[in-house]
Symmetry: C2
Subunit: 230 residues, 2 copies
Amino acid sequence: MRESEKETVRALPIFSGMFQDNFDALLAGSFLQRFPASVVLFSESDLTDFLHILIEGQVELFASANNREGTMTLIKPVATFVLASALIDGAYQMSARTLEASRILMIPAENVRTAMLKDRDFAQKAVLELASCYHGVVRAYKNIKLRTAVERLANYLLVQHERQGTNGALVLPVEKRTLASVLGMTPENLSRAFSTLKPYGVVVDGPNIVLNKMDDLKTIAKPSEFIDAN
Amino acid sequence: MRESEKETVRALPIFSGMFQDNFDALLAGSFLQRFPASVVLFSESDLTDFLHILIEGQVELFASANNREGTMTLIKPVATFVLASALIDGAYQMSARTLEASRILMIPAENVRTAMLKDRDFAQKAVLELASCYHGVVRAYKNIKLRTAVERLANYLLVQHERQGTNGALVLPVEKRTLASVLGMTPENLSRAFSTLKPYGVVVDGPNIVLNKMDDLKTIAKPSEFIDAN
DNA sequence: ATTGCGACTTGACATTTATCAAGCGATTTA
DNA sequence: TAAATCGCTTGATAAATGTCAAGTCGCAAT
């Protein structure tokens, strides 16, 4: 791991308040690894060796059962993932794969647990991170339990629109088949959900979306502060 | 709050390792309150004033959107709830109601945040509790995303059967309409799911269930270590 | 005891979602 | 360049789930 990279990592909010000694101890045995696209990083049954921090690229956390597979969440830089598993010292509980070529900082889980005990600032930041992830899953759970597929798509579009500048257009940040998995439906169903939204001013051209009737779209989406990410 | 009750609380794992001063400070301004059945404790949009600890009774955490309502989880004694919200200092994100008459210890959220900073043992226990809750929601999310209604019921029965002694029978710990909400289906659908499981040896008499063909039931349930609670 | 209410069940039906199959278009591979 | 592959879409159909209505049963209130 190069010195310049180490400084980038040091500047991340979760690490920025740590004592230097604790930070150095935390990163001992860590490494910054490059992965190509579509590589499985770990499986849900694997024991949690590392806390992961996505520096660059994109990662999908997913789960399998029966013959189905579903996306739990997408990770975008810069963000930690599997923090809960690293703290508990058990299985990952989720599988992970890269969606693009990615750079990932891998910190031995044991180091993380030590740092939690030694460094108050890190512990505090990690707890808030964890609590925030908890609320994230709760939102996702509400989303799938209380909404139909079309509603989930409509709200997804509204959130992306907001994030991308609220200028009447947005670009899907992932392939549609991945989006379908995120939203808990089949790719065929996603296609049909887009069709259903056409009368509500949603124009689709590949990954480019235009929203022409924001009010109508909001009417059908019924967005909720306590489901949709801020 | 009586002295004997305070001792009961003191003995709970999450508090047992605290310094006495920190414990006393934590409980300052706390109170142990009794609630009758079917009382709403707080709404998802309320600001988090208290960390709750269910001492006796039963509580449902639920969420509403559109005109639907869904159970997030059921709380049984003794357990904390809304820990994440108490740490973040924002809205509860979920609503809560009592299902039975209940006794609940309510600790000011501010006290909890202070104790997190001051008491290392409490901080450690709280983090593990939080991480464990996180995995709990992840399991629930997988359950609803990767399984059909019948599969969810079958696995629920298997888990309850195990918890209640693995002797071929079990008693539903909640009303069927509540169970339906927990499992993410309508009460009508739950009735039909039970009918569907009849050929798999599931005999229903009110809240009393008998499992006559465990192997067949497991075949249809396809239980997973990483979805079903231990 | 009677009444009324609520939980539960069942049937008929509607809606939502998934599956299977085919085809299109763009990109990759040979 | 040709062939193969992959992502996406569309149609037909099936399966899963929800809604509405009716009816039974048991419990609680009068």
